[in-house]
């Protein structure tokens, strides 16, 4: 469970200060799917970064299973992300020099998993997203939908408890967007992974168990 209490985030200083989040309270239960919806600039991406420990709130507390992130050092935060978090980004962020399999295995490589085990688990997740036959292709040889599926495989490979998806279908056409969406929700259900989707797409948000709206740095109902 992730708990957010009275979180504020301010960028810049004094006159140029910009309040991205202004007192957000939120609880994300294990295994639920949550859509964070809002216009661009509303602060929804900032909230996601704070939830994943990529940034620290200016004020307030974020806790993972009762453990405040503020009390964790850089090493523990990195390990938390490596062990428990999967990311899916709008722009996929695949490494062009690596093969599809190598991209999918990246979190395991960072974790220091032995090469043989890495390969086995990498192939497993590629199978789960239906791209095993592309394992040795360059990531750049794939279509947009296929790339996002590789990114999902990468998010799955470390068997995370939470997947953060930041506009996962934003760069895809309707057809492939639907396929990626299906895949995400199927994995969420099958593997009981908490799914946090940041989006401004109401269609996508409607499929989640719960939706929160963010406007001007605050949660509105």
């Amino acid at each position: 469970m992730i708990t957010v209490e009275k979180v504020y985030k301010t960028y810049g200083k004094k006159e140029s200060a910009y309040e991205a989040l202004r007192g957000v309270d939120l609880r994300i239960k294990d295994g639920e799917s949550l859509a964070i919806i809002g216009k661009s600039g509303s602060g929804k991406s900032t909230l996601m970064h704070l939830l994943a420990g990529l940034d620290h709130p200016t004020k307030g507390t974020i806790m993972w299973d009762g453990q405040p992130l503020a009390f964790m050092n850089e090493r523990r935060l990195a390990k938390l992300r490596n062990d428990n978090v999967g990311f899916v980004f709008q722009q996929f962020f695949l490494q062009p020099t690596l093969t599809v399999l190598e991209n999918a295995m990246l979190p395991l490589k960072i974790a220091g998993v032995a090469p043989a085990e890495r390969k086995g688990r990498g192939r497993d997740v590629l199978k789960a997203v239906g791209l095993l036959d592309k394992a040795d292709n360059r990531a750049t040889d794939l279509s947009g939908g296929q790339r996002q599926r590789v990114a999902i495989a990468r998010a799955l490979v470390n068997e995370p408890s939470v997947i953060f998806a930041d506009e996962p279908t934003g760069n895809l056409d309707t057809e492939t967007g639907k396929q990626v969406e299906e895949l995400l929700f199927r994995l969420h259900k099958e593997r009981n992974i908490t799914l946090v989707i940041v989006t401004h797409d109401n269609e996508l948000a409607r499929r989640c168990d719960r939706t929160i709206h963010i406007q001007d740095g605050k949660v509105i109902k």
Binding site: L54, A78, Q95, K109, I110, A114
Partner: protein, 424 residues
């Protein structure tokens, strides 16, 4: 990440910008190649000089003469007569060279660590002849039991052998032999004349060895017993000689040489050790080496700037990737380590290519150099590549690379993942 992963990741990253990596490595190659060449040259020169010096002395040989103390003039300027010493009658400056005698010999033999002391007599031979072939002039000097140098063939006469002879390399051809080895074991005759009486005699000498082919042709080396006999035949007194050669145990430490030198000097003798001989050459040689290495160092410094530049650029280009790696759980130190590995790799490849290039050039240039520019040095290589030195050059290049990579690496580690991942 595991260490092998860091290494392969660094190589993959470097190969992403092949041309840029190649140029950065090339800058390093120029530096390491130059250092390898100057090292090869100074090492070759050093071993070449050592071979040359061996003709005059070895580490266990010490030359002892009389100091100016014993040559000083009286207050009137006219030198005193010194009992038991013969003089050369004095030069134009009024200074008189006294000879040494048996008392000096006995005194020097008593010094600790001195294994043997031998009087150096002035002897001369008229000619050397093999069978009844052509006669050749020859300069002769004495062998000292316990002293040996590297020979082209054979060995020095043993202490017990009274008629041994080691000939300089050119006599192989002069006496009609194909190679040094076939001259060893042959008997030649050495002819000497007493200048006072005009009588002459010849000595049958067994060739035991041949000196290496050096630029300067040294004297033939005779058994000490033959030299003594020749000196007396030529009219010299057994108790009158110019200087004394001291022989120590076969591998004296520098401290031991210095200790003998100090003892003899305090006894009033003038002493020249192997170290003194070497320092005459090593001083100028060191200046040349340092000078050349300095230029190579400047080339490496320029290469260092290249590394900083290359890596800073790639930090900029790979901002997004660094952000992703951090989001996926890589630590700041991990990112820094990837960049450091890349920097060390550039140094490593630059070092390998520079050293290998220098060795290849040396393999081609060595035979040409010994045939042309350094004619007469024999089979000595003027470019020599000792493995530890070459390994040190590669290691040094990696360390320089690491140092140069520190700034970009730390900067990459500090990048904020949020900035990197923010949607454009």
């Amino acid at each position: 990440m595991r260490i092998p992963d860091y290494i392969t990741t660094a190589q993959t990253n470097l190969l992403r910008t092949k041309l840029r990596t190649f140029l950065t490595v090339l800058a390093f190659v120029i530096g390491t190649f130059t250092i390898s060449m100057t090292t090869a040259f100074s090492q070759g020169l050093r071993s070449y000089i050592n071979t040359q010096i061996e003709a005059y002395g070895t580490p266990n040989m010490i030359l002892v003469g009389l100091t100016s103390n014993n040559q000083q003039s009286s207050s009137s300027g006219v030198p005193y007569y010194q009992s038991g010493r013969v003089t050369d009658g004095g030069g134009r400056d009024g200074k008189v060279a006294y000879t040494m005698n048996g008392q000096d010999l006995a005194k020097i033999k008593a010094v600790p660590n001195v294994q043997g002391a031998f009087a150096n007599y002035n002897v001369s031979a008229d000619y050397i002849q093999y069978g009844d072939q052509q006669k050749y002039t020859v300069q002769v000097s004495s062998a000292y039991p316990g002293v040996s140098t590297t020979l082209a063939a054979g060995a020095y006469p043993s202490a017990a052998q009274t008629d041994g002879l080691v000939l300089p390399y050119p006599y192989v051809e002069a006496l009609g032999f194909q190679d040094a080895g076939s001259l060893v074991g042959k008997t030649v005759s050495l002819h000497a004349t007493n200048p006072a009486t005009g009588t002459s005699r010849s000595y049958a000498m067994a060739v035991t060895g041949v000196l290496p082919d050096t630029a300067h042709v040294p004297s033939a080396v005779l058994s000490y017993q033959t030299v003594t006999a020749m000196a007396q035949f030529e009219g010299g007194s057994a108790d009158t000689f110019k200087d004394i050669t001291v022989v120590t145990s076969s591998n004296p430490t520098k401290a031991m040489r210095l200790q003998i030198k100090d003892t003899l000097q305090s006894d009033g003798y003038q002493v020249q050790t192997y170290d003194d001989l070497l320092s005459n050459f090593s001083g100028p040689l060191n200046i040349i080496t340092y000078g050349l290495d300095g230029f190579a160092g400047i080339a490496l410094l320029a290469a260092t700037i290249g590394i900083v530049n290359t890596l800073l650029m790639s930090v900029l280009e790979r901002t997004q990737e660094i952000g992703l790696l951090k989001a996926l759980g890589m630590r700041r130190s991990g990112i820094t380590f990837i960049y450091l590995t890349e920097a060390a790799s550039i140094g490593f490849w630059g070092g390998i290519l520079g050293v290998v290039g220098a060795i290849l050039l040396g393999t081609i240039a060595n035979p040409i150099l010994t045939r042309t520019l350094f004619k007469g040095i024999g089979h000595a290589h003027i470019l020599s590549y000792p493995l530890p030195y070459m390994a040190a050059i590669i290691g040094g290049a990696m360390i320089i690379g690491l140092l140069a990579g520190t700034l970009p690496a730390v900067r990459a580690g500090r990048l904020d993942p949020i900035d990197a991942l923010r949607r454009e």
